[in-house]
């Protein structure tokens, strides 16, 4: 392929700087984790990452993230729908506040959720008589991870709902479909890629979350200890190789999730172009 000369200036400078900055701050440091793990034999690595306490933390982290992302998929879609289709007092304020979990520092979210959902808190005290304990149990982890993922489904579905063509719904109605059929057969397929993307982003974000969870979880080994906390605990014991081995497992899963999200976004974009 012949080298084409670029019309606008600054290509080499901007791309060079981008790659340099990215390599120095992100890629090389991330590669350090893999280099550190190379110090271990495969058996040692496997023993660390499949230790019962670590496996219990994967189950909690991924299980709670999945439940949180599912809750957000349902209620996020509902919220996006309500914000796009209906008018009600305070709508603009609520629309703005949906992004709060993204802007609020995670430690603040953690202590606030703990205060509210503890047995003497505003909501916790209402649940306590029914035998439901939220704070300091795995359920607390789900609450924190739901909070963290809240903006993502709303913000990916909202623009697609806004762009939806009215004609398709009108056609469905004139052909005798009721509202539920129209939603299920016309609207849902159109927003499906966006919904999946939002779900995947909420899930990926929840898997790595630390700050908001550690306050509400109680952090009991085997019960309510998340994987990022395992890494911290190992670090505090100066077990750098152990911490890094668990981090490598999480990193690989994060890479895979990121690839899946990019694939979904690409699919979503293709669908939107095709529907134009």
């Amino acid at each position: 392929m012949a080298k084409r000369k670029h019309v606008l200036p600054g290509f080499t400078l901007s791309l060079g700087y981008t790659i340099l900055y990215l390599s120095l701050l992100v890629l090389i440091p991330l590669a350090a984790t893999f280099a550190k793990t190379m110090e271990l034999s495969f058996e040692q690595f496997w023993d660390i990452v499949t230790a019962p306490r670590v496996v219990a933390s994967y189950k909690l982290t991924f299980g709670a993230s999945l439940i949180g992302a599912l809750i957000n998929a349902v209620f996020g879609l509902l919220t996006a729908w309500v914000l796009v289709r209906y008018t009600f007092p305070g709508k603009k304020l609520i629309d703005a506040l949906v992004d709060l979990p993204f802007a609020l520092p995670t430690a603040v979210a953690g202590i606030a959720l703990t205060a509210v959902y503890a047995s003497n808190g505003w909501i916790g005290s209402l649940l306590e008589p029914h035998g439901i304990k939220v704070a300091f149990t795995p359920l607390g982890v789900v609450v924190a991870l739901t909070f963290i993922g809240l903006p993502f489904v709303v913000r990916t579905v909202q623009p697609v709902l806004e762009d939806l063509e009215a004609e398709a719904e009108e056609a469905a109605a004139s052909l005798g479909a009721n509202r539920w059929q129209t939603f299920y057969k016309i609207i849902l397929p159109a927003i499906w890629p966006a919904l999946l993307t939002g779900f995947a982003v909420a899930f990926a974000r929840a898997v790595g979350e630390y700050g908001s969870v550690i306050f509400i979880a109680g952090n009991m080994p085997m019960v309510s200890e998340i994987t990022p906390l395992i890494i911290i605990t190992k670090l505090e014991q100066y077990d750098y190789t152990g911490a890094t081995a668990v981090a490598v497992v999480m990193l690989v899963i994060s890479f895979l999730l990121l690839l899946a999200i990019n694939g979904l976004q690409w699919w979503s974009a293709q669908r939107q172009i095709a529907s134009r």
Binding site: L22, V108, P228, N262
Partner: protein
Amino acid sequence: MAAATTISQYSRYNAKVARNRATSEPVWIRWALIGISLAFLTLFLFIPLAAVFTEALRKGFETYIAALVEPDALSAIQLTLVAAAIAVPLNLVFGVAAAWAIAKFEFKGKSILITLIDLPFAVSPVIAGLIYVLIFGLQGWFGEWLSDHDFKVIFAIPGIVLATIFVTFPFIARELIPLMQAQGKEEEEAGLVLGASGWQIFWKVTLPNIKWGLLYGVILTNARAMGEFGAVSVVSGHIRGLTNTMPLHVEILYNEYNYAAAFAVASLLAFLALVTLALKSFIEWQTARSAQINEASADE
């Protein structure tokens, strides 16, 4: 401005559709859906937010102020501001450079580059801290060299800045790339034809076009930088009055059962988050308005 016109047409359709009985829901379903959505947001969002401020003021206004002007709190506030003041401009320059390269030029491996820029968003903050410990920590790659030269990165301010840069790495670039891609490069090329230099084109053509997106990215980056907890917690060492940022100070106070003080410092951070959201809404309103003005002038 074709895209903007189409969207506003659809919005008008939506308004029309909403009034049509065949393409909308009965009133009771509408209000039920609004009710469920609001109940969800109240449980997970509004009540926790309100709790921050009530807990902070529970022991009275004087205790609240005392918790904020105490020396350790002040030094935490100062360190948070310093870390953000270094991290945000660095990521700003990177974001603009990355968006310029990606939006204005075609090259191989572009989509891989975009994915790599997104990478820090998917990585757990704890791992973000860990990677710098592996490199600059006492047992790390440069650990010995650094300690020989009496320069501390980990458990010191440089480590905190590095961790902050990592966790806020993609935000400005992510904001600018789609914006600059949508704007194309015709205006810049016109500037070039008229004899402007590269920097002149950037300052006089590109920057005015992206200023709101840029500002939005900066605000978001700043909010995340000041609030980062996990990554900073790994590299900070939690030395009171020296390497404690505001979120870490909140954690220490909380673990000492000094709830009123913990929530007092937390309320400052929550206030910062609310200001961030207010500015974001303002910027969205501004961009919508300038899009309308452009549309109107294009119609004339």
